[in-house]
Symmetry: C2
Subunit: 272 residues, 2 copies
Amino acid sequence: MARYRILVAYDGTDFSGWQRQADRRSVQQTIEEALLPLSPGGAPVDVNGSGRTDAGVHARGQVAHFDLAREIAGPSLRRALNDRLPEDVRVLRAEPAPPDFDARRSAHGKEYRYRVWNAEVADPVLRRFRLRVSRALDLAAMRRAAASFVGEHDFAAFTANPQRPVESTVRRVFSVEVAAEDDSPEVEIRVSGEGFLYKMVRSMAGFLLAVGTGKERPEAVAEVLASRVRTARVESAPAHGLILWRVWYGDARVLPPSDRDLFPPFGPSPAR
Amino acid sequence: MARYRILVAYDGTDFSGWQRQADRRSVQQTIEEALLPLSPGGAPVDVNGSGRTDAGVHARGQVAHFDLAREIAGPSLRRALNDRLPEDVRVLRAEPAPPDFDARRSAHGKEYRYRVWNAEVADPVLRRFRLRVSRALDLAAMRRAAASFVGEHDFAAFTANPQRPVESTVRRVFSVEVAAEDDSPEVEIRVSGEGFLYKMVRSMAGFLLAVGTGKERPEAVAEVLASRVRTARVESAPAHGLILWRVWYGDARVLPPSDRDLFPPFGPSPAR
């Protein structure tokens, strides 16, 4: 058996999420099916992601590992998978991994990005990948609120009832940035942390948007965190604005300057 | 009767083009149907675009005019249309226009952009809006080739058999830029000109890509233009990479610095 890891991007629109489910189209199962013809004797392959993404959530940097009873070079594995995968999932890189590499347990951190189209009219081309918000967002207020999320906190008020109960709702958030460009309706909420609870990023994004539209004050973040109880005051932002941006396996505190550095030994970069 | 003009964006993926056609979904007819409930007595409304776009071609800045036997403010018209239009068409602006404004005849120029994803693996999120080209493009060669298109030329070799024969195949191209950013697989071919023949931009883009991949030399543009005969040497690039970016109604020689300036009196800009 040889272990492999893959860097995966997907358009989450037509998936019921990462996780395999009976009778529903999942990214995990789609990749497992594409691997079957590559597996000696057609033995089923378990694909293990760095974490689940919900129905409708996209990924640009999901990482997964699996074992295969054959030797295959990274570029050949990538090509073989992409030839078999539907167009809404792409393997960006593939390579052999150390036997103890575990996409979930070896991860040191993750970054999610929540994308907003802050304009009265939606962009028809980006409509599946941006939440449209008509009211002009108060970015300064959102940035003040975002700062209160950073650090180690009990995020019980910013998670939904998980499918699997968790032992602790304490998580460490490295940074929350609210990025925007002049003269563009795009606003991006970038959240990185050691790990996230179920619907935690969407709950944070939903609350930051409530601050941005004036429904909540920036100081409310600290109050709601301290309450440690999820109430209707916290709304999860819709899935289609969220993207799993990247997963780190190096020093989680050092944000890499570019994607090229994410997996130094992770096979060749895309052409150009 | 009052004349109106609208600025329209669409995702061309699921349209058979701009032009109304029996039994096929067109952007023109979709807008005409959305206008019906706004038209006194339900009188049919003719929507006249600045030009046709082919099946699968997108638009960010299509302009159209129509007459309506009622007075309605621009923002109300925009809202009423967007409420009735499907998500893949959006009216970005709407306003009353002078009675002699004609979206096609009043236009002084147009800009199209052809978008390429130059990498071995496609981006699943952008797959409907980028042509993927695996081989690393020689941008310097493409830029040399692009320069030969600029100016007034007979473009007979760079058009397909038109649905309606044209009197002259001479057209003036203002500029052809090949834009790319370091560390990004995006390459954009920006073509602006006084007017374009049927499939002219896609033929130009297809030839520039042939130069970029080494199939043709940059000097071949001048030769093929001079031949004035369309041959198999010129291939039209696929529709899904092409976007009608904007139409000018001011001085066609002066490229406006931003979209805000396109229609100074064209109603308020989108929020933010």
